[in-house]
Amino acid sequence: MSAVSHAEMMRDNTIDDPTQRAPLLTDDSSFGDVTQAVAGVAEAKPPIGWLLGFGVAACGALMLVSCIGWLIWMGVGVWGNMTPVAWAWDITNFVFWVGIGHAGTLISAVLFLMRQKWRMSINRFAEAMTIFAVICAAIFPGIHVGRAWLAYWLFPIPNQMQMWPQFRSPLLWDVFAVGTYATTSIVFWYFGMIPDLATLRDRAKSKVAKIGYAIFALGWTGSARHWHRYERAYLLLAGLATPLVLSVHSVVSFDFAVAQLPGWHTTIFPPYFVAGAIFSGFAMVNTLAIPARAIFKLEHLITMRHLENMNKVILATGMMVGYAYAMEFFTAWYSGNPQEVFAFTNRAFGPYWWAYWTMVSCNVISPQFFWFKKLRTSIPVMFVLCIFVNIGMWFERFVITVTSLHRDALPSSWAYYQPTHIDIMMLIGSFGLFFTLFFLFLKFLPIIAIAEMKTVMPQAHAHGDHHGGPATAAHAHTAGSH
């Protein structure tokens, strides 16, 4: 028995009715309407919000570039890093940004393999976010090596010193993991975009736009023979990206877990880091999607149900992260190791108690509001909570990195780390770079997977005999889960 009418579902697609599938688009768009809605964003003159946002972000990016230049000129002493806190905001920012990236791959690959079709309106977004986050992430370890122009020593390149990297170090695993992740993410993103770039090419009015899009569309025609291989390759890429995304943050966690330092040396780190990465990444997708869908009028494509689903993921991963926090303390106590016990007691009640409790309030307490449907479907509430989650996840990495280091084995070297102006400007600047790239993406590229979107529309199902109004179309869609 269908308790909810289709019309009601279209109005509010967060209604849960087990007898029918919730619509993924909340209006009866035609194929052409979807093309127009998405391609129109790239073709129209940018709205004032875009210009303002881009301007501010570009200033931030410029600030980052200046700070990097200053750091390379002066040396890493411009940061607050010192002995014993040799890893501070640089590594915090690195892990934070890599973690943000993970939701993109999760949405585009893992949800694809699980046939979660609701991913389709947000996956392009999320993949773009992944790439820009990985770019921000890769900067920090690259410059924290001190002599940044020698960072190529990280790669196994034949050299006149006849030296080779040390492959038993997790820091080198990181180079390979993050390098592979960046490459695969870019390939996956670009590959998914080729048909949509062809759409933009075919609609472009100006010669420059046409040539630009044509180069990157590679002469795509939409041939069925091409689609056949394309879909197979996409499935393969998704299948490859799934273990990859799990490996990347596991390897990042090895940077800490393989060390002997109390507070780092724990086996719980890989799953705990992966859960945290997904947690922060989904929060970031929401943070980006909420204003973007409002500015570009895409509410019928990125629907409330999408946002609600993401909030559910945030709630689930937030609970996992909270469990990991508790388990760390339990393990420290249960180990009976005084150093471990001290490291964790000091983490919560030592000089950095404020960072620890900021982290706990943002990451464990704030997602609990998502238990209530009213709150998880309220735009202002979810926007604020997602920003809290982002703040909390940055603090998590800060807490892990700095509180474990600032109490060294020798009490004479105990110290209190404080960031310098350059540290702060670089963190803000990395957001500037991230948003600059993101604004450019919003303006010039198809921000929603147009071709994929069309496959989940009711009209797309060729084998069905229904070609009627919306009511039967919805029916066809329900049946059409392949």
Partner: protein, 413 residues
């Protein structure tokens, strides 16, 4: 557009690339595909803005070999990753890390995993493009305004004139029977001479060869030896802003960077109150060498063995194992006729044979003529032990058969 035409096509008869039929729903496209497939055409294709479900069987498309290529690439990537690490850390540049074996396979798993994924992903991407013959620089279908809708909301079938069964009339009729919205011919303009001008081709060729020159220079530099210091772009490690001991500085009035010790400074090791023990002279004098060992030094067989061992390390290279001044260094200097060489004195000849033991101690400590002092290398007690052994050597040289214990005299023969 006259120059676009090939000689054999006059303006009247346009060479046809294909017949293009347009459909407005995916359902109509799939039905039409079945008809074209059943008519036996091979060189034709369907075009749609998204992958239409069920079109593969309707067109008779066989599964692609791409997954097998990706599997091969993945296995290659894994193997390359493992071989790279084993070769570089196991053989080429062996490092011992935390006492792990040089080929610690478990530690090589993460990188091998990443190379597996990397090569697979690049192959999935590149393989798909290559199999699809992309990037495609030109396609006659793009000349049709209508075809721009193939990436928007329209569906097309194109049967190409290269197909064996292609016949302008029959093909057109077949397509018209599949309920298209439009059927039209696509003009073939692929025969236009699109070759680059000769100048550009030669220019590119020359540029390609010239680009090898720097690489060849680098290769040459890498495999040849040079007395020059390596080139560093950033030289702050080669030339560091710091003062070295022998440099001058304007900062101090004496222009020396190395500061002299404060007057009256005594290094801990320089505290030598006992003249007999530390200088080998009678207390309060400078050159009255003692004839006996200091009371702190125990003359024993153990001290003798110690002295012999030290002598053979520090003294024998010049003085020779038996002290005749014929060590390897001395003999080599003689062979080379080194003009500046002062031959070491034999310990068994006139001036030295009669010297008191304190004299030997003093010379070992401070050196004499060309011989450097060994005080910084040999501790006090060891210097006395060497002096003791020298005494033993001198005794053995001046000795007679009677000095040898009677039960060992037979071994002398």
């Amino acid at each position: 557009m006259a120059h676009h035409k090939t000689p054999e096509t006059s303006s009247g008869e346009q060479k046809v690339f294909s017949y293009l039929a347009e459909y407005s729903t995916p359902h109509a496209l799939v039905e039409a595909c079945k008809a074209v497939r059943d008519a036996g055409y091979k060189k034709w294709d369907a075009y749609s803005p998204f992958p239409v479900h069920g079109i593969d069987p309707a067109m008779g498309i066989r599964p692609t070999i791409l997954p097998w290529l990706v599997l091969g690439a993945g296995l290659t990537g894994m193997l390359l990753g493992l071989v790279m690490q084993v070769a570089l850390n196991g053989f080429e540049y062996p490092w011992i890390i935390s006492g792990k074996p040089l080929m610690s396979i478990p530690a090589f798993v993460p990188v091998a995993f990443e190379t597996t994924i990397l090569l697979s992903a690049l192959t999935a991407f590149g393989g798909c493009l290559v199999l699809n013959k992309l990037p495609d620089l030109y396609n006659p279908l793009f000349k049709k305004k209508r075809f721009a809708k193939a990436t928007d909301d329209k569906f097309f079938i194109s049967i190409e004139s290269d197909d064996k069964l292609f016949d302008e009339h029959k093909t057109k009729t077949l397509l018209e029977r599949t309920h298209p919205t439009v059927v039209e011919a696509v003009e073939d303009d692929r025969h236009v001479n699109a070759a680059l001008p000769k100048g550009i081709i030669y220019g590119l060729l020359i540029a390609t060869f010239v680009s090898f020159v720097p690489m060849a220079r680098i290769a040459l530099a890498r495999y040849s030896k040079s007395p020059d210091a390596p080139l560093n772009l950033v030289t702050n490690m080669d030339y560091q802003e710091k003062y070295k001991t022998q440099q001058s500085t304007a900062f101090f009035s004496d222009h020396r960077t190395m500061r002299p010790p404060i007057p009256g400074t005594v290094s801990q090791d320089d505290l030598a109150l006992d003249d007999h023990l530390s200088r080998g002279v009678r207390a309060g004098t400078n050159d009255e060498f003692v004839a006996d060992f200091p009371p702190q030094f125990q003359v024993s067989a153990a001290a003798m063995h110690r002295g012999k061992e030290r002598f053979e390390i520090y003294c024998a290279p010049c003085h020779g194992q038996a002290g005749y001044g014929d060590g390897m260094v001395a003999r080599r200097a003689e062979e080379l006729s080194e003009g500046t060489w002062v031959p070491p004195t034999s310990l068994h000849d006139a001036p030295l044979a009669d010297k008191p033991v304190g004299y030997f101690y003093n010379v070992i400590s401070n050196g004499v003529r060309n011989m450097p002092g060994y005080a910084s290398q040999i501790p006090e007690m060891d210097r006395w032990a060497i002096a003791l052994y020298i005494r033993a050597l001198q005794r053995s040289d001046a000795g007679s058969v009677e000095d040898v214990p009677s039960n060992q005299r037979g071994a002398l023969k």
